[in-house]
């Protein structure tokens, strides 16, 4: 297992607002790390740092031994599910093709190699059935499948997922997280998986990075997702309940609407 991403004494903020500091994190190839924390704690900003879009306040971020930079093709990115609207002249396979060569200038020139590559990516996520279906008539889960294929198009070494399960129903949450898991095993990818809810990926997570109160904890889910650790991190009495293999976090001070959808499940 080689280290693909390394952050050392990293600190980040915007304007006068500090998000986190003193972050030391290593992501190895084949390792899936869940990034958790309240809204506004700097989870997505961490991904932006790795993408070279936001500079660190201090410390360093290196990807495969060199400082992170904008537009590194060896980093794949899966965004939040956002439904494509009517009026997007793309079918399933065209979205994947953008991952293959969408960054190049000019108009795409069809070729056998390009076609085969797209077909191979489509089949790797089981999306052949809607390769020719207009994007706007696909469901959120189907579109997320295609976005994973798109992210895998450039043979990445690191996959960044920014809330890819948001607003998907439970079966599709499972399906999409299975696809990410399958891809990292098959391609030996490091994965940073930003999510507000660890449960859909709990059985796949190697380590958790939990950010709160400008601080963080890193460790296995068993080490981090405990009443003691999270209470200390939040500086407030937080309760972690394990129930039927699920982790339920109650009493997080920042009452954002996404943080405990599990409460409803438990009732």
């Amino acid at each position: 297992m080689s280290v693909v991403l390394r952050l050392e004494r990293a600190a980040l903020g915007f304007g006068a607002r500090r998000l986190w500091e003193g972050l030391d994190l290593e992501v190895s190839s084949g390792e899936l790390i869940a990034v958790l924390g309240a809204n506004g704690s700097g989870k997505s900003s961490l991904l932006k740092v790795v993408l070279g879009q936001v500079p660190l306040w201090s410390g360093s971020a290196t990807f495969l031994g060199t400082p992170v930079r904008r537009g590194d093709r060896r980093i794949g990115y899966v965004p939040q599910q956002r439904l494509a609207e009517d009026g997007v002249p793309l079918r399933g396979r065209d979205l994947v093709a953008l991952g293959v060569d969408g960054h190049r200038w000019g108009v795409p020139i069809p070729s056998r190699a390009r076609r085969q590559r797209v077909n191979q990516l489509l089949s790797s996520v089981g999306a052949e059935a809607y390769a020719s279906t207009p994007l706007s008539s696909l469901s959120g889960g189907e579109q997320q499948r295609l976005r994973i294929a798109q992210a895998l198009a450039a043979d990445p070494r690191l996959l960044l997922c920014d809330e890819p399960l948001l607003s998907l129903d439970l079966p599709h949450q499972r399906l999409v997280s299975d696809l990410v898991d399958d891809a990292r095993r098959r391609l030996d990818l490091g994965v940073l998986f930003v999510t507000h809810d660890i449960n859909p990926i709990l059985d796949k997570v190697d380590r958790v990075l939990y950010i709160a109160n400008h601080r963080f904890r890193i460790g296995t889910p068993d080490e981090v997702m405990t009443t003691d650790v999270l209470s200390e991190l939040f500086d407030a009495p937080v309760e972690v309940i394990r129930h039927n293999g699920r982790i339920l976090v109650a009493g997080v001070p920042d009452q954002d609407p996404y943080h405990h959808p599990e409460a409803a499940v438990l009732r």
Binding site: L51, Q53, R70, G71, D72, R73, I75, Y77, P79, R82, A84, E85, D86, G87, V88, P89, L90, R91, D94, L95, L98, G99, D101, G102, H103, R104, W105, G106, V107, P108, A129, Y130, T133, P134, L135, S136, S137, G141, E142, R147, Q150, A151, A154, L160, P171, H172, R174, L175
Partner: protein, 294 residues
């Protein structure tokens, strides 16, 4: 049959194709202008639709009208004025309105200002009245050689520019975050696109008029998107629709006493309507989506 008689009178008042054969050679410049305009409008329209900028196009065209009117008043020329007006508007909307919500309000603020400014300039202008009206509703005749040359040059810049940025612009217009992660210069592209849009509007305003620019820059692409989702077919169809509307418009207008714009807008609208009907049939005939195992 008084009804039919009067209809015939109206028809003969509007249309007179008797000298058509002699008329056509005189329209050479106008026909070239319409073909070129159709190509540019059809191509850029695809991105106008993708980026949800139809309203912004309308705003840019009003400012372009103001510029053209000022050009007429101060003697700088309609082309120069239209270019200055639309480029200013396009850049303002592009820079101030990065988000869709901001863009709509910026457009809505600029549009009446531009229209008012244009009407002021026209009010002060004491030249030919036909020039005034033409800026708002279009004109066909009197496209001279220098004018058609400038139109072709500007349109070529837009077409070549679009082809060069086509793929990354498609990526950025589909999913800006992912495109940015891939190293596509999303911000630069959107400014370049606004400049190209400004140029396209400026040339269209001179032919179809400021009020009707949307019929060439939006309607054909909107129609194409009703019947196809292919990134190859949509621009091709959109271009074909726009050329049919603009050239069809000039051929009809040549034999009639009415300006070109109602013909262009009517053909454009008829194409859109047909595509919509076709798409309704297409979707109702589509077999139910296969259930995907989860």
């Amino acid at each position: 049959m008084i009804g039919l008689d009067s209809l015939g009178t109206v028809w003969s008042e509007i249309f007179d194709f008797s000298d058509y054969r002699q008329l056509l050679p005189l329209l050479k410049n106008s026909i070239i202008a319409c073909v070129v305009l159709g190509i540019v409008g059809g191509l850029i329209g695809v991105f106008v639709m993708m980026r949800d900028m139809a309203f912004a196009v309308h705003g840019v065209s009003e400012l372009s009208f103001a510029g053209a009117a000022a050009g007429l008043l101060f003697g700088a020329g309609v082309v120069t004025g239209a270019l200055l007006g639309s480029l200013t508007a396009a850049l303002l909307i592009g820079v101030l309105g990065a988000r869709a919500r901001d863009r709509n309000s910026v457009t809505a603020v600029l549009m009446p200002f531009g229209l008012g400014l244009g009407i002021l300039c026209l009010g002060l202008y004491h030249g030919r009245a036909a020039n005034k009206f033409g800026l708002l509703t279009g004109q066909i005749v009197a496209i001279d050689d220098p004018q058609v040359t400038s139109l072709i040059v500007i349109s070529a810049v837009v077409a070549v520019g679009l082809v060069v940025i086509w793929r990354p612009l498609l990526f950025a217009s589909t999913d800006a975050d992912v495109a940015a992660a891939r190293g596509v210069p999303v911000g630069v592209l959107s400014i370049v696109f606004m400049i190209l849009l400004g140029l396209a509007v400026a040339v269209s305003v001179q032919i179809v008029g400021a009020l009707l620019v949307l019929s060439l820059l939006v309607t054909p692409a909107a129609a194409a998107l009703r019947v196809s989702s292919s990134p190859v077919w949509v621009p091709l169809l959109s271009t074909a629709f726009a050329v049919v509307a603009s050239v069809g418009g000039i051929l009809l207008a040549a034999g009639s006493s009415i300006p070109i714009s109602p013909y262009i807008t009517s053909i454009s609208f008829a194409i859109y309507l047909s595509c919509r009907l076709l798409s309704v049939r297409r979707t109702s005939h589509r077999s139910p989506e296969p259930a995907h195992a989860t």
